[in-house]
């Protein structure tokens, strides 16, 4: 009986390193990480089976990432491309990220060349289709999206070795999309659901983002941030990590104008510490603490009465 060295495949592909980095860089997302580990293990095993001649066809690798905005779907897609590349399932490992506009044309005969162009660009790598359900518009039977779906399906089936397609979007809409396009659903092997982040995970993410931007929170700011997240989660249009990023961008603006005023007033010269420390005031100035959009809407409706 021939034996095969799984460890060898693992070290050759350096896959452990990518997975560990995924663990370190991404906060939370435990079920997603678990699924990715499973997929990676499956790929390593099927590579080994291939070497022994037990398996001839390459496994289907198309995936579907569902979850609310800002839960890390694009980030994970990038890592997935790297994992697939290291294991030799895609030759180049680049990610081409598109939406409906990049695939669907404006007039008859425009869609097919446009879709093919995108598919050709993605060959050898991963095609990431964000909000894929917009491709299918049931209310308009002459919508060109259907044509794009058909070409996509054909290539997903015939050029399985050449590219991996990852669809992404909200869970409920994606499910509806699959119901009306059963061909698509059956060609996708891996469905991964991205859960929302908890409050403590978001605080951790905020900390990571701030240090990646070479800023730091002082103690008050850290507490304010935790409270901010608490408030923000209950308000409409909350987009997980993306909302945190936006909040930090606005805090940086307020920080900049505060430091600028300090220096312009000529009272003191800002130090390196001043330039990189976000204080409690920078965060507390957010309208989220006054109820944010909700409060404004309420105020508006009261004004109407």
């Amino acid at each position: 009986m021939t034996s095969i060295d799984l460890q060898q495949i693992l070290t050759d592909a350096n896959i452990g390193e990518v997975l560990d980095q995924l663990d370190q860089d991404l906060v939370g997302l435990a079920p997603v990480k678990q699924r990715i580990r499973e997929i990676a293990a499956f790929l390593v095993v099927s590579r080994a089976r291939q070497q022994l001649g037990l398996e001839s066809a390459a496994p289907s690798l198309h995936m579907c990432f569902t979850g609310n905005p800002g839960t890390g779907k694009t980030t994970v897609a990038m890592r997935m491309a790297e994992i697939l590349h290291r294991l030799g399932y895609v030759r180049k490992g680049h990610v081409v990220s598109v939406t409906r506009d990049d695939l669907v044309g404006q007039y008859i005969g425009h869609t097919a060349p446009k879709t093919r162009e995108v598919l050709k660009k993605a060959m050898g790598g991963v095609l990431f289709i964000d909000e894929a359900y917009y491709l299918y518009r049931p209310e308009n039977e002459r919508d060109y999206g259907q044509e794009a779906i058909e070409i996509l399906l054909q290539v997903m089936e015939n050029n399985r070795d050449d590219l991996v397609v990852i669809l992404a979007g909200y869970k409920d809409r994606m499910e509806k999309f699959f119901q009306s396009n059963p061909g698509m659903s059956s060609r996708i092997a891996h469905h991964i659901d991205f859960p929302d982040y908890s409050q403590s995970e978001l605080v951790e993410i905020a900390g990571k983002m701030v240090s990646a931007m070479h800023y730091r929170f002082d103690d008050g700011a850290l507490k304010a941030m935790a409270e901010y997240i608490d408030f923000r989660q209950k308000q409409p249009h909350f987009a997980n990590a993306r909302s945190i990023r936006n909040a930090l961008d606005r805090a940086r603006l307020r920080h900049a104008s505060r430091v600028f005023d300090l220096a312009a007033g000529g009272k003191s010269k800002p130090t390196a510490g001043d330039l990189s420390t976000i204080t409690e005031a920078d965060i507390r100035a957010s309208r989220v603490f006054d109820g944010g959009l909700n409060a404004e809407l309420n105020a508006d409706s009261k004004a109407d009465l």
């Binding site: 180049k92 660009k121 060959m123």
Partner: protein
């Protein structure tokens, strides 16, 4: 008559894997790959039909093979070649060109004699393939 034009034409026909490897090389050098086809194999025929636009943004040879497959399906019994264009300043010309598809029957060339002033004879060649409109591609 086996037409010998461009690279590799004295070799047995390239397999798809070999074509992809050649295209991958072209991509690695930053050249734009294009596919062209014709029914007129005259060596002076430089105007082959373009199969779509040249591929500027592809990252992998599979994309060129994808187009080649489509071209073969649409024009199965014609000559198809793959070109690679180098846009480096000072080069700016096709740097690779090889035939990847041939008609089942390659009828060859006829020699045409034209009697000119005195007893001069002018010679020229004409591909038999062009005697019928559309060549032999519909056979």
């Amino acid at each position: 008559m086996h037409i010998t034009q461009g690279q590799f034409s004295f070799l047995p026909p390239l397999t798809d894997a070999e074509i992809r490897a050649q295209v991958d090389y072209a991509i690695s050098r930053g050249w734009a790959v294009a596919i062209e086809w014709t029914d007129d194999p005259h060596p002076r025929n430089v105007y082959w039909h373009m199969w779509g636009a040249p591929m500027f943004e592809i990252k992998d040879g599979a994309a060129a093979l994808f187009e080649l497959q489509a071209c073969r399906k649409a024009c199965p019994n014609t000559y198809i070649k793959v070109n690679a264009f180098d846009n480096t300043r000072g080069v700016e010309s096709a740097v690779m060109s090889f035939i990847v598809n041939r008609p089942v029957m390659e009828p060859g060339f006829g020699l045409i004699r034209q009697e000119a002033a005195g007893r001069t004879i002018r010679y020229t060649t004409r591909p038999y393939a062009t005697e019928r409109s559309g060549g032999y591609s519909n056979d």
